[in-house]
C-alpha cells in the first residue's frame, strides 16, 4: 500500500518541472524504522521513502529553502494547510513551491509504535499499512497491529486529510471532519479538576522550548518568551539585567510554565493546522495539542472562522461577536 504510494511519489518526482532545485521529502532514518525529513537534489530521488511513520511537517524547511529557489515538497493534508497559512502570511510564494500532495490516512504515533512492536527497532525492514492493519516485517517474521491502536491521536480529528491545494495528488481523496468531542468532554470536568490536571501537566514541563522551535508557524526571530531580547554586554550589571522588562519569569514553576504555554498557543489562534509537531517533539510527552484544539474550537464557534479562509484570522475584525 505505501510502497505503491512511494512508487508514485518517485514517479512524480522524476516528472518535476526543470526549475525545481530542491526536493524536501522523507528519508528512512538509519537504525530506526521511521522517516525523517531531508533536502534532496533532483538526482537523489531514489533515497526517498514513505510510510505511515513519515509524520514530520516539512513547512518550516520549505519556508527557508524557497527563498533561494524552487522547492518540490511531499506534503500531507496538514502540511499543505501549514504551507497555505505561511503563504497567507507572505512567508512563502506559492509559485516557488511545487506540492506533491499525499492523501493521508493518519500517521503512526512513534511512541505507541515503539511499545507495541516486538522486534528490535534496528531490525525492522518495513512498516506497511494494509487495510486497517499495520504490518511490520523483520528478519522474515511479520507482526500485525491494528492501525487504530497506533494512530496519532490528533489524526482522529483531522479536518483535512487530503491536501486542498496541490500540484499533483497521490491517493484517493478522503473526507475530513470537524469534531471537538474530546475538548467538550474535558470541559465537563469542574474547574478545580481542570486546574489540577493542567498543573500536573505543566509541573512536568522543563521549558526546553522544543514545542516552539519545531512549530512551523512559530517563525518569529525574536520570541516573546525568551528571557530578554535586550542587548547585554559583559559590562551590564546584574541589577540592570534583572530589571529588564520580561513577560515571563525565568523559573520553571508550574504556573510560570502555564503562562509560557498560554502565551504560545495564543499566538497560534486561527493559524494552527494541527500537524502535532509540538506534541511529538515534547520530551516530557505533554498533551499540548489539547490547548491548540481548544483555541481552534473557540475560533470556530465564537468567531465562526475557518483557517482555510483567505484573510488571516488576526486581521479579520468583522467576525467579533456582540459584547
Amino acid at each position: 500500500m505505501n510502497s505503491e504510494i512511494l512508487e508514485k511519489i518517485k514517479e512524480e518526482c522524476r516528472k518535476l518541472p526543470d526549475d525545481v532545485s530542491y526536493i524536501v521529502g522523507f528519508v528512512r532514518k538509519q537504525g530506526e524504522p521511521r522517516e525523517i525529513l531531508r533536502v534532496l537534489r533532483p538526482g537523489e530521488i531514489d533515497r526517498l521513502s514513505y510510510s505511515p511513520l513519515s509524520s514530520s511537517n516539512p513547512s518550516r524547511i520549505v519556508m527557508d529553502l524557497a527563498k533561494s529557489g524552487k522547492v518540490a515538497v511531499i506534503a500531507k493534508g496538514c502540511d499543505v494547510r501549514t504551507l497555505k497559512q505561511l503563504e497567507k502570511e507572505e512567508k512563502i510564494k506559492r509559485e516557488r513551491v511545487y506540492i506533491i500532495g499525499v492523501s493521508c490516512p493518519g500517521v503512526i504515533d512513534y511512541r505507541k509504535f515503539r511499545n507495541a512492536v516486538k522486534f528490535r527497532l534496528s531490525e525492522i525492514e518495513s512498516v506497511e499499512l494494509v487495510g486497517d492493519d499495520v504490518i511490520v516485517k523483520a528478519n522474515g517474521n511479520e507482526q500485525r497491529i491494528p492501525f487504530n491502536e497506533l494512530i496519532f491521536e490528533n489524526c482522529l480529528y483531522c479536518e483535512q486529510p487530503t491536501p486542498k491545494d496541490c500540484d499533483v495528488l497521490i491517493g484517493e481523496p478522503r473526507e475530513g471532519r470537524t469534531d471537538f468531542s474530546d475538548i467538550e468532554e474535558f470541559e465537563k470536568l469542574d474547574r478545580e479538576e481542570r486546574w489540577k490536571y493542567w498543573m500536573d501537566v505543566f509541573s512536568k514541563c522543563i521549558r526546553c522550548h522544543a514545542c516552539r522551535e519545531v512549530c512551523p508557524i512559530c517563525y518569529c526571530e525574536e520570541c516573546l518568551v525568551d528571557p530578554s531580547n535586550l542587548a547585554v554586554s559583559p559590562m551590564t550589571p546584574a541589577e540592570e539585567k534583572a530589571a529588564y522588562p520580561r513577560v515571563l519569569g525565568k523559573t520553571v514553576s508550574a504556573s510560570d510554565n502555564m503562562v509560557y504555554h498560554l502565551m504560545r498557543v495564543l499566538h497560534h489562534a486561527g493559524r494552527c493546522a494541527g500537524c502535532g509537531e509540538c506534541e511529538r517533539a515534547c520530551p516530557m510527552e505533554l498533551p499540548l495539542l489539547k490547548l491548540e484544539r481548544k483555541l481552534k474550537k473557540v475560533v470556530y464557534e465564537v468567531f465562526n472562522y475557518s483557517p482555510d479562509e483567505e484573510i488571516p484570522f488576526l486581521s479579520k475584525l468583522d467576525i467579533l461577536p456582540e459584547v
Binding site: 481542570r194 493542567w198 502555564m258
Partner: protein
C-alpha cells in the same frame, strides 16, 4: 478584611480620561484599583495580564474606548479579540476567569467607571485572594 489588588490597563484617550473625570468630579471608587495608562487597549499584550496575575494581582481589567470610538480606529477590536481568546483559555485551564474583565468606558463616563470599578472590587473581595497563578517563594 481582604484588600484585593486590581490592575487596570486604561487607554489614554477614553478610559484614563474617564477615570480622571471620576476623580475630578469627586466620585468615590475603591483605592484597590491601580491604573496603568496605555496608549490603546489594543496594545495590551495577553502576557501582561498573565504577568500581573503572576505578580500577585487579584483582578485585572482592560479598559478601552467603546467599539467604533477608538482613537486608532480599530485598536479596541483587537483588544476584544485577544480578551475572548485569553478568557476562554483561562476557563479551559481552570483559572478563575471572572477575575479578568473587559470594560468599555468613554472619557465622559466617569460615573460608569467608578460604579464598575466598585462592583468589580466587591466581587473580587468576595472571591478572596488569587492564589492560583501568584508567584510563590519556593
Amino acid at each position: 478584611m481582604f484588600d484585593p489588588k486590581i490592575i487596570t490597563f486604561a487607554c489614554n484617550w477614553c478610559s484614563y480620561a474617564g477615570a480622571d473625570l471620576a476623580g475630578t468630579s469627586r466620585l468615590k471608587y475603591p483605592d484597590n484599583v491601580r491604573i496603568i495608562r496605555v496608549m490603546c487597549s489594543g496594545m495590551v499584550n495577553p502576557g501582561w495580564v498573565l504577568r500581573a496575575f503572576r505578580q500577585g494581582a487579584d483582578g485585572v481589567v482592560i479598559a478601552g474606548c467603546h467599539p467604533g470610538d477608538c482613537h486608532y480606529t480599530v485598536g479596541n477590536y483587537y483588544a476584544k479579540k485577544r480578551y475572548i481568546l485569553l478568557k476562554e483559555l483561562m476557563k479551559f485551564v481552570g483559572f478563575d476567569d471572572e477575575r479578568f474583565k473587559l470594560l468599555w468606558a468613554s472619557a465622559s463616563e466617569g460615573k460608569l467607571f467608578a460604579e464598575e470599578m466598585t462592583a468589580f472590587t466587591e466581587k473580587i473581595r468576595e472571591m478572596g485572594p488569587q492564589e492560583k497563578l501568584r508567584r510563590k517563594i519556593e
